[in-house]
Amino acid sequence: MLRRASMLLARRPILAASARPFSTDLPAAPSADATFTEAWTKVIPNMDPPKTPLSFMQPRPPTPSSIPSKLTVNFVLPYASELATKEVDMVIVPATTGQMGVLPGHVATIAELKPGVLSVHEGSEVTKYFVSSGFVFIHANSFADIIAVEAVPLDRLDVNLVQKGLAEFTSKLSSATTDMEKAEAQIGIDVHSALNSALTG
């Protein structure tokens, strides 16, 4: 009983500090928070300082000395986390410079995404999503964060609607007058042609 009580006592401050009850101590993170909290308490002594996002996040592991065997992928969308710390073999992302394959041990990169197909390779199975746009961060510790605005699995796309959309935007581009309309029509064409090639290719 004493052991449980001490466990509860030990766990409670961590529970209070972060929304994730099982996060361990944050290694280098508190230094920024510490300067902030000190400055705050000096200027506004009556109020508790506000929390910052670092206190709500699980810290990332440091870069290992040898290349790990698996890539850990976080694939997030505004309304859902598609993949959260999933260990996979490879992902192929549609970067603006073309399809980019990411393996464990990839050099740290920040890449912007263009509309295209994202495929996640785990063992023998491949999951493909059509991504509208976003960013991908590849960290040195073989963590990949893919943030997309919209992503759908390929089997949810309707070929007819894609063709219709492509025709519609092509006609809009030819009839566009202002730069804004031209840009919008061009974006529409880009997305729809990417959809088209995703469905056919």
């Binding site: 920024a32 109020m47 997030v76 309304y79 603006t96 920040i110 961060f137 040195a140 943030i147």
Partner: protein, 325 residues
């Protein structure tokens, strides 16, 4: 004589249902809620007034209970959205870290609050934190501006910081919150406001009873460059290769804008959840308070009623004994 007594008795029983004219004139319009007994012979307040007050308190209790139910159902709807969006800002913090103590010239504080009231103290907390950040970042050559989302913060900040307010946005929750709406909003803010660092103040939703005021910092691409060159927290950023685009600056610009819209989306959802949770607890304590008030009023009512009956009995009996001689 007996007939007169009976007649008087007959008259006496009627006013138990409706107040007697003499009592109505004597009674004060304000309900006395003190429990102590007045000296004997004094007419008490009319029961009608107490009964009216009881009816209105009961109605208020019903309304606050209903508001609590409504807030609970709205919270359920929006809580799943907020929890799903929590993964959105984490990659940015993992890449760029979080530097709330960064020293910049142009600060912009984005305060997120609710449009409707009756939600406890969360809006005042947000405003106090915003004012604290303003104070923290005040200094020579430094300026801080406000961007306000929501009516409640606008009402509080417009009183003393009117000249520092850049943009006010209200009626955010008229349509259900979506990423497109928030990204359009973020675009507006980024277009119209010059910034070196954006500090977003909101209430993070931990549970139905706990809302933590939080500040998220988004830096402009120039400041990100500056911090990464000077080493420290963002020093590793240089080691990241930047794919695509003509220059690194362009990608960083897009990154900063994307980060702002993602962080805003999460912040707005969390604040909406906190608002509903705070409203639930505020309405709950209000119904409980109304219930207590009702109990006290019931006691006063019964005491008043019994006192008036006793007074009448005394009058009858003293009248009868006076007649007997």
């Amino acid at each position: 004589m007996a007939m007169a007594a009976l007649r008087r008795e007959g008259r006496r029983f009627a006013p138990l249902i409706s107040p007697r004219p003499i009592t109505a004139v004597r009674s004060s319009p304000i309900v006395p809620t003190h429990e102590d007994e007045a000296p004997i012979g004094v007419r008490y307040i009319s029961t009608q007034v107490v009964r009216n007050r009881m009816k209105s308190v009961k109605n208020i209790q019903k309304i606050t209970k209903a508001m609590k139910m409504v807030a609970a159902s709205k919270l359920r709807a929006i809580q799943t959205k907020a929890e799903n969006s929590r993964g959105l800002w984490q990659p940015f913090t993992a890449l760029l870290g979080d530097l709330p103590s960064v020293d910049v010239k142009k600060n912009v504080v984005v305060t997120i609050s609710s449009d409707k009231g009756l939600c406890g103290g969360i809006n005042s907390t947000s405003v106090k934190i915003s004012k604290g950040i303003y104070k923290l970042n005040s200094g020579p050559e430094k300026e801080t501006k406000y961007v306000i989302l929501g009516e409640k913060a606008k009402a509080q900040l417009i009183r003393d910081s009117k000249k520092d307010i850049e943009l006010i946005i209200t009626e955010l929750q008229k349509n259900p919150l979506s990423y497109t709406q928030v990204s359009v909003l973020a675009d507006e803010i980024l277009k119209n406001v010059e910034y070196d660092a954006l500090r977003i103040v909101f209430n993070k939703f931990h549970s139905v009873v706990s809302f933590v005021p939080t500040v998220s910092t988004v830096l402009s691409p120039e400041i990100v460059e500056r911090e990464s060159e000077s080493g420290g927290k963002l020093g590793e950023l240089d080691s990241y290769e930047v794919e695509g685009g003509e220059t690194k600056g362009e990608i960083l610009q897009n990154l900063a804008e994307f980060q702002f819209s993602c962080v805003m989306f999460n912040a707005v959802l969390e604040n909406a959840c906190s608002e509903q949770g705070a409203r639930m607890s505020a309405m709950d304590s209000s119904s409980r308070n109304a219930g207590d008030m009702l109990d006290r009023l019931t006691l006063t009512y019964n005491r008043t009623r019994q006192a008036s009956i006793t007074t009448e009995l005394i009058e009858i009996i003293s009248g009868a004994s006076a007649l007997e001689g």
